[in-house]
């Protein structure tokens, strides 16, 4: 899927989240609705094609983040692994899990793994991984929480909101001009 298409879909998701909030909140105030659009509780659930187990790969098998998120240290975007990457190890079953059987099937059929975005920012925000991971030397968990220690994709994530970015920038004396992040 092209970047534009995924961004557009992302926007639709956000709108859907807002709509859900609207229904749930009923006659609540505008303030509550605005919160609803942001609040993790109101975010629509994400269903991944495979229930990926970060802890197994990262902690038990000691595979580094850059093996699968190839460009996290070298580009603005971090990248998600495609089926070929998984096929490097999973053409034959490595264990006995049902989820892995499903994966092996998919890899044999050549089905693409269309991972749904979790942490995506709106299109009007510029964010760079290499800047934060290399230049600023930040740990992934500062922004992504304990995702590397989860055994299944988070159903709902707490995304970074502008205040998360700006409050750290203030602390670290990094620019908070609108033009730094907005585009």
């Amino acid at each position: 899927m092209g970047i534009q298409a995924s961004l557009r879909r992302e926007h639709r998701l956000a709108v859907a989240g807002f709509a859900t909030a609207f229904v749930l909140a009923g006659g609540a105030t505008t303030a509550a609705l605005t919160l609803g659009g942001r609040n993790a509780f109101f975010r629509p659930a994400v269903h991944q094609p495979i229930s990926f187990n970060h802890r197994k790969h990262v902690t038990e098998l000691d595979i580094g983040c850059t093996t699968c998120h190839l460009t996290v240290e070298t580009e603005a975007f971090s990248g998600l692994p495609d089926a070929d990457l998984c096929a490097g190890c999973h053409l034959e079953p490595q264990g006995k899990s049902e989820e892995e059987k499903k994966l092996v099937e998919m890899l044999k059929k050549g089905t693409a793994l269309a991972w749904k975005p979790l942490f995506r920012q709106p299109a009007h925000v510029f964010y760079s991984h290499r800047r934060h991971v290399i230049a600023a030397k930040l740990q992934c968990r500062v922004c992504h929480g304990a995702i590397a220690d989860t055994i299944a994709p988070p159903v709902r994530v707490r995304r970074l909101v502008m205040d998360d970015c700006v409050s750290c920038h203030r602390r670290e004396r990094v620019s908070t001009d609108c033009t730094v992040c907005h585009r």
Binding site: A76, H124, S128, D177, C178, T179, H182, R183
Partner: protein, 233 residues
């Protein structure tokens, strides 16, 4: 800290409009429908505007002048914005934060250069073009104001690249699409606070002038033109 500015040499400009096209494509500015154009609702961040030359000039007739946002050092538009959706940043860029904009259009009215545009409708592209939008520039929704940004998304990229290479930003790292495209070499871009930059050298030329300088807006787009015409715009 840099203070970004542009020099446009009207004696070199052939009015070919390559800059206009480059701008349109770079910044995801949708081509207007015939109806929008008729109603004066076409959006264009960089236009070629006809100005009448002095009767006594050596070249009578019309002169087409490329007109981007002047990125004023004292912008009249930012002062009237009730929600601070438009602000001038530390490097002199006059930014428009679309999600913040409430569409009141005070700024379009305040701008003496008429380079601000309101999105009366949701932008639409013909099929093949819709697939080729620039992901570095967000598509503006209906109901907000937009204008030339000096392609500041290119500055974001340039700074990110320089930081990755652990070096400061160099002249030429950050150049807007129009300047990059100009086949006549009539457009030059750079840091107006760097005495060694080409824009500073050119802006000190006797041919240099700014549009509507008398309003005190202090534009950072500087034009060059020979003869009396220069002063009479």
């Amino acid at each position: 800290m840099a203070r970004w500015g542009m020099v446009i040499d009207l004696d070199r400009c052939t009015a070919c409009q390559a800059c206009v096209v480059a701008c349109q494509v770079e910044n995801n500015v949708a081509p207007p429908s015939a109806e929008q154009a008729t109603r004066g609702r076409a959006i264009s961040w960089l236009r070629l505007v006809p100005f009448k030359e002095s009767e006594h000039g050596t070249r009578p007739g019309l002169r087409l002048v490329p007109l981007p946002c002047m990125q004023c050092d004292r912008p009249p538009c930012t002062k009237v914005c009730p929600v601070q959706a438009t602000q001038i940043d530390k490097e002199g860029l006059v930014a428009q934060v679309y999600p913040r904009c409430i569409g009141c259009r005070y700024c379009t009215t305040a701008c003496p250069y008429t380079v601000r545009h309101f999105n009366w409708e949701r932008p639409e592209w013909p099929e093949p073009m819709a697939e080729g939008l620039n992901p570095d520039v967000s598509v503006r929704p209906r109901g907000v104001v937009e204008k030339c940004t000096f392609c500041h998304h290119r500055l974001q990229r340039a700074k990110d690249k320089a930081a990755a290479e652990s070096r400061p930003l160099r002249e030429g790292d950050y150049v807007p699409a129009c300047v990059e495209t100009c086949p006549a070499g009539a457009m030059v871009f750079g840091d107006l606070d760097d005495p060694r930059s080409a824009v500073v050298r050119l802006s000190e030329s006797p041919r240099a002038f700014r549009l509507l300088e008398e309003l005190g807006t202090r534009p950072k787009v500087i034009y060059l033109s020979k003869g009396e015409w220069g002063g009479t715009v």
